[in-house]
Amino acid sequence: MVASIPTDNAPLIELRAVTKVYGTGQAAMQALAGIDLRIDEGDFMAIMGHSGSGKSTCLNILGCLDSPTSGSYRFRDFEVSQLTRDQRARLRRYYLGFVFQGYNLLKRTSAIENVELPLIYRRVPARERHRIARQTLASVGLQGWESHNPNELSGGQQQRVAIARAIVTGPSVLMADEPTGNLDSARSEEIMELLSRLNREHGITIVMVTHEPDMAAYARRIVHFKDGRIESDEQNGKAH
């Protein structure tokens, strides 16, 4: 993987006329009907919209989990739409972090081992791996919980472990799919505080899908999706 040198006004991510069609013929369903989107380094963007608006499809494409049917997706200097499955996996490994609604932690596996997982795929040596994972868990406020299994942690704590796992590799972008969807409002606010702190203090670019305006309010920029198109794209002056 060739490291890229971003120039001042080169965007981190740029989508041009991206469409996504599921199925063929009569059963074809257009999930994205031509999206143009530019995301700069250090941005915190919330994607909102009703279910079926294409926001999840868009996040999957941005997260390199899926390929667009047509259009161009540039991530730094890579044309992602041309990449193979394995190349996309490598791109995820080195540049992206994921946080899911259901946490998706490995069962019966301690918090620290969960956080170490992406480092194992990056071939980080064991001692360094432990050190980094420990540090990252501390940075999300879970010092002392390293050896607990997910079933011994609260929902909020589990999502913190998941966030630690996503940022432990120092990714360029954190993709968050309804990160507060399973949490009560107090826990949700804690998670959002954590995410916006990561964005402010560590400069991690965040793309978050949510349908809760309260959560979207933490973002610097809010994009509304409707029927596979971008309905509105506005800066959020009231961002925390």
């Binding site: 998706n104 992406p118 795929y121």
Partner: protein
């Protein structure tokens, strides 16, 4: 790369100790039974071989009838003492040629009686059979010549008739007549066919013929060939001599059989080896069933772990890394099952060797083969589930409930 995969797989196995154990149970049992069968089989083969070797490798047996075995002596005339004497005289390579006649009958002492083999032969019988006297003496020349009513008994007969009493100089009854016990043989145990060699009452041949059988028949000639002489040549010479003595025309087939102990040994070890192979094959089938068990559980495990696979793929695991992880998991499971099975099999063989009276013969080849086979079972039956996991679509997998 390999260590990482191994690490991921070992963590996965550790997470599910109980399931992992049940998964490999089939392999454990399969390998254990193969090891037990083969180890005990090898032991039995070796036992047959050594007991034949203890009989002496340079022995020839001449029996009436066309082939060895029961019911074959029927029409063919028996031998005479003179046949043994002729062999001793005319076959230069024969160091001993003894006539043997025997019959199964009851031996009685006081209120005790036992069914035993009563054998008439010469003192050389003991030399040829590697039998030693425990106490007393063998027959004197005059006793042998006169057909005196004396006998030498084996340990089994002594135990049944006399218990702890000293049998020497007591008289036992065979049929209507009584015989004085002059000697007691040292214990020799079972022979290669599982016959108790201590269950014997030995009489001078003339005594046997006069007082027991009432004829001059000899049912077996045993011939010892001198060290270094060719048994094949002796076999040919004896055959010619016997044809001549039995006045067989050129067109007639032999009505006797000259057998080499090597032939008997080959026949018996061949049989035990075949049985070992057969039992081993049956056990190998159970290994195969164990492999299918692994595949079954691995498939279930892939379905159960769909979300986990999705997470790994999202984090950036390559298809082949997921494949390798599941494959290594299957191989680690099956080969540790194999290892456990080997230990269990060797333990079972050790436990059974006394019950079956078979020596413990460790065959390193079969241990290595069993281990490699169990690992191979993991590769073969783990591949399909692993491929299934690796091919999952990350988005679908992440949504899986």
């Amino acid at each position: 790369m390999f260590w990482n995969t191994l690490l991921l797989s070992l963590r996965e196995i550790r997470r599910n100790v109980m399931r992992s154990f049940l998964t490999v149970l089939g392999i454990v049992i399969g390998v254990a039974s193969v090891i037990t069968m083969v180890t005990l089989g090898k032991g039995a083969t070796q036992q047959v071989a050594t007991s034949i070797a203890s009989m002496g490798s340079n022995l020839l047996m001449v029996t009436p009838g066309r082939r060895m075995g029961p019911g074959s002596a029927g029409s063919a005339p028996a031998f005479r003492v003179e046949d043994a004497e002729a062999v001793a005289r005319e076959i230069g390579s024969a160091s001993l040629a003894i006539p043997v006649a025997s019959r199964s009958m009851a031996a009685i002492y006081g209120h005790e009686n036992t069914s035993t083999t009563v054998t008439g032969s010469t003192n050389s019988f003991l030399t040829l059979r590697n039998m030693r006297l425990y106490s007393g003496r063998s027959f004197s020349d005059s006793e042998a010549r006169a057909g005196a009513a004396v006998c030498v008994i084996g340990q089994t007969v002594r135990e049944k008739l006399f218990g702890s009493q000293d049998p020497l100089n007591n008289r036992i009854r065979l049929g209507a007549l009584s015989f004085q016990v002059v000697g007691l043989l040292a214990s020799k145990g079972q022979n290669s066919m599982g016959m108790d060699q201590d269950d014997i009452v030995l009489l001078p041949l003339r005594t046997f013929q006069r007082r027991i059988s009432g004829n001059h028949d000899v049912s077996l000639l045993q011939i010892q060939i001198r060290e270094g002489e060719s048994t094949e040549k002796a076999q040919r010479d004896i055959r010619l001599l016997m044809r001549e003595r039995r006045r067989l025309a050129a067109s007639e087939e032999d009505n006797f059989n000259v057998m080499d102990t090597k032939e008997i040994s080959r026949m018996l070890t061949g049989t035990t080896q075949m049985l070992t192979g057969l039992l081993g094959a049956v056990a190998a089938v159970s290994l195969l069933v164990g492999g299918i068990g692994i595949m079954n559980i691995m498939l279930v495990s892939v379905t159960e772990r769909t979300r986990e696979v999705g997470t790994r793929l999202a984090i950036g695991a390559l298809e082949r890394e997921v494949l390798m992880q599941f494959l290594v998991e299957a191989v680690v499971l099956s080969s540790s099952g194999g290892l456990f099975g080997i230990l269990l099999g060797l333990g079972a063989s050790l436990a059974l060797k006394n019950a079956l009276m078979v020596p413990f013969v460790l065959d390193p080849t079969i241990v290595v083969i069993a281990f490699l086979f169990s690992a191979a079972v993991g590769v073969v039956f783990g591949y399909f589930p692993a491929l299934k996991a690796a091919r999952l679509d990350p988005i679908e997998a992440l949504r899986h409930e």
